[in-house]
Symmetry: C2
Subunit: 172 residues, 2 copies
DNA sequence: ACCGCCTAGTTGACAAGTCGACTAGAGGAT
DNA sequence: ATCCTCTAGTCGACTTGTCAACTAGGCGGT
């Protein structure tokens, strides 16, 4: 389960609650993984059950109590083993491209709005990533690697925009 | 369920068996969707149950009998409705980038082989896509749209290679 | 004669992910 | 006073996807 390893990785950066993790998946880690909060909490429980993480309840001042999870030595070993293992093969799944692939079933207007919607979504994402990019500096090797993945996202979003330009021109 | 719509779309191009569909997901449609054969057969059964597709057993000459599925009028309507509906938002999930994100947990050699493996996988894919691209001509609007999605894959793979160059140089 | 591969499909057990509802207190706005 | 949002977490039902095993006949090679 990749999610479990990613959570371990995040816990290795700093101890966190499920809520914190969810925010990471919605921001800093969002460009390479997404996760439902129910799934996050269940995975955290499993990590604790497996001895890869430990919980500590921290009384919240004002806010609810926090269930802080921190990675254990066993978790650290597990994370290292995963990093060194054979990468899982990626399963491409892009519903937008699927729609384009069958786009012959749409009229000109339908296609146009399909592309327009994509363009908007991509631009929005790109703006977010560039913002993030500007806010962070590559202080050490870890930060540099994390920024590299963000640069990867940015590069692909730009490629997508360029492809949209070409596609719309070809269909015009 | 996106898979059901994609299968409908493929059946709209030509009647097919589950086996044929699997081959499509492993080749022509592989750059935007993948599917397990068990899932394909179950989805086909559901499409038939919903009246979106009809089965016809064709005696195989030599080979086993073929369960040819063809799209029905109701299926065609369903497909058209999906194409015109709001696109589902994409869930980015890239285990390779996840590994890079936590790459600080790897030594120089580990990182190098991670990138090298990715480069190899990307180059292989790119070669396959370019082969496919060369084999197909844009005869009509449908074919042109299908080729556009392939071009999308090619563009992103090239971007990935360029990013790998930059990343390896930065880490060198 | 036997092995392995291709076509074609089925089944069961599981793993992973999604959705919505629900609890609960604090703080801010109307 | 009431409502909304944020933080924090839990639960159940459900959908989707994955893995491995299994059937079964035909074809080609050794």
């Amino acid at each position: 389960m990749v999610l479990a390893r990613i959570i371990l990785g995040l816990l290795a950066i700093a101890p966190m609650t499920g809520y914190d993790l969810k925010r990471h998946f919605d921001s800093t880690a969002g460009h390479f993984w997404t996760a439902d909060k129910a799934q996050i909490y269940r995975t955290l429980a499993k990590l604790v059950a497996d001895g890869h993480a430990a919980v500590e309840t921290v009384a919240g001042s004002g806010a609810p109590d926090r269930q802080e999870h921190r990675i254990t030595a066993a978790g650290q070993a597990e994370l290292a083993a995963w990093l060194a293992s054979e990468p899982e093969r990626q399963t491409e799944r892009d519903p937008f491209l699927a729609r384009v692939f069958f786009g012959a079933g749409l009229d000109e207007d339908g296609l146009r709005s399909l592309f327009a919607g994509r363009r908007e979504a991509v631009q929005e994402r790109l703006a977010r990533y560039e913002q993030l990019r500007a806010e962070n500096a590559a202080t050490d090797r870890g930060a540099r690697l994390r920024l590299l993945t963000l640069d990867n996202g940015i590069a692909h979003l730009r490629t997508e925009l360029a492809w949209l330009d070409a596609a719309e021109e070809e269909l015009a």
